[in-house]
């Protein structure tokens, strides 16, 4: 890492350079403020600037450079201020600089040891920032890989499964009569296995897509629309189960409709799936709580034992065999991903045998 130096008097610059070079740190002297901007853009560990070298105009262009830094970067600056009693102007100036970014002000005359110590600490801070950058880059690469995987899952993996599904169907249709009961049973296993694989892939895809929801705040929409869409998708299951669904007043929140629909569909779908013999009642409400909206989906189903209240949100986590209750174990994992991408939280309260309440928050 190199340290950039800007001082109006050439001799001062050289003195500073010598002081820093004594620490085996590279230095580069900027001939003028404009050069400093260019050199900062090329990368630096820190910059030392004599206060008088920066006019108001330069401070402005420095401010715009500072605000254009990537999120990981907070370039450390060491500013050598003028000697003597602080004037109102110099105080104002100091405050102005400190508000712009990572500025350490040192009053002249300075001892070489003070400069060295300030530079060391600035470079230490800078190397931390570089670590953050490389971690962020690794994370971005991992995300890109994940998206690539989602894409493969949607194309390359689905294709052969689709063929198996269609052709076992044709096999059953045209040659089913040639098979004995055992053969028919085997064919049935192939078909249900294929169907299960398709569902798993579709769910895995939703999950990876939920992970790559962009970090932005959408315009508010009424939660009622996505809720109605979810209930519409579940219409068949609701009719079959005879479930009574009641809905309280729904607010407008900042979320993409498709994501809220997915959450409601998974939660209400689960309530229907894990019902008891008694008539099922699902009640949905929302209320404002400080800085967020709290949504509750309450049912009188079989409930969930306390020890599983965290695990049910895991990928492919299931508490029952697929014979007892169909499903891939991805629904709640998808809900959790979506809610967390919107900086909310999801959890559940339950009394086994009496019912469960799933609660989630979305920032208002």
């Amino acid at each position: 890492m190199r340290v950039l130096i800007l001082a109006p008097v050439g001799r001062d610059s050289q003195l500073l350079a010598d002081t820093i070079s004594a620490l085996n740190i590279d230095t580069q002297i900027a001939p003028g403020p404009e050069n400093l901007m260019t050199m900062l853009g090329e990368g630096a560990g820190a910059a030392i600037v004599a206060d008088e070298a920066l006019s108001a105009v330069h401070v402005q262009s420095l401010a715009s450079w500072l605000s254009s830094q990537p999120p990981w970067s907070d370039m450390p600056f060491i500013v050598l201020t003028s000697a003597g009693r602080p004037t109102p102007e110099s105080k104002h100036r100091a405050r102005e600089l400190e508000s712009l970014g990572n500025f350490t002000l040192i009053e002249r005359p300075v001892r070489p040891e003070t400069v060295q110590s300030a530079v060391r600490s600035a470079l230490r801070a800078r190397s931390r920032q570089y670590e953050v950058r490389s971690r962020q880059e690794a994370l971005l690469r991992a995300n890109a890989d994940l998206e690539q995987f989602a894409h493969s899952a949607s194309h390359d993996l689905r294709e052969p499964i689709r063929s198996i599904a269609v052709y076992t169907e044709l096999l059953a249709k045209h040659y089913g009569h040639l098979l004995d009961p055992k053969g028919k049973e085997f064919l049935g296993f192939v078909q249900s296995g294929t169907q299960r694989m398709e569902t798993l892939l579709a769910d895995l895809l939703s999950y990876t897509q939920a992970s790559s929801i962009p970090d932005e705040t959408p315009e508010p929409i009424s939660a009622r629309g996505p809720l109605d869409a979810a209930l519409e998708n579940l219409a068949g299951a609701i009719r079959e189960s005879g479930a009574a669904i009641t809905v309280g007043e729904m607010p407008a929140i900042r979320i993409r409709p498709r994501h809220l629909e997915q959450i409601f569909q998974n939660l209400v779908g689960n309530a229907i799936k894990y019902r008891k013999q008694d008539p099922l009642h699902v009640h949905l409400t929302a209320r404002r709580q400080n800085s967020h909206w709290l949504f509750c989906v309450e049912d009188n189903g079989i409930g969930i034992a306390a020890e599983y209240r965290e695990t049910v949100f895991g990928i492919f986590k299931r508490l029952h065999t697929s014979q007892a209750y169909a499903g891939t174990g991805m629904g709640l994992a998808i809900c959790q991903r979506i809610v967390e991408r919107y900086r909310g939280r999801i959890w559940l309260e339950s009394e086994p045998g009496r019912g469960s309440t799933f609660l989630f928050t979305i920032p208002a």
Binding site: H151, S154, H155, R158, E159, R162, V166, E169, Q195, L205
Partner: protein, 128 residues
């Protein structure tokens, strides 16, 4: 013309054509480069007829279906021919990109036989 590398899907498209009694002479190429060569030949020689309809799989060897679609829309003689993009993916991004590149219809390949035969209806609609 059908651009499709999967034999099983070529078979299903033929089934769909038969099931809907369509009078279609289906020409099949199995990768993107072949498709692009065909388009270039049509543009170079006025005597080569341009297909009345393209059925285009997105996931094909050598070049992507998107590239073939772009080439098709940039072609002199085939630019206005209807194109059905058919793919295993139902991803929003694929649908959007197909639309942006000028696909006429988008058909996500279903996992059921009867559902797959519905492509016959789409073909009929675009040939009429």
């Amino acid at each position: 013309m059908l651009v499709e590398d999967s034999e099983t899907d070529v078979f299903l498209v033929n089934e769909a054509i038969a099931a809907h009694h369509l009078d279609v002479d289906l020409q099949v190429v199995t990768d993107g480069e072949q498709a692009i060569r065909v388009i270039a030949r049509i543009d170079a020689d006025e005597n080569v007829p341009c297909p009345q309809l393209f059925l285009l799989d997105l996931n094909i060897p050598r070049t992507s279906g998107f590239e073939v679609l772009a080439r098709l829309r940039g072609s002199q003689r085939c630019a206005l021919v209807p194109v059905i993009v058919m793919t295993s993916s139902n991803a929003e991004s694929d649908r959007a990109e197909s639309g942006a590149l000028g696909a006429t219809a988008y058909f996500p390949k279903p996992s059921g036989y009867e559902a797959f035969l519905k492509i016959g209806e789409v073909i009929r609609g675009l040939l009429a």
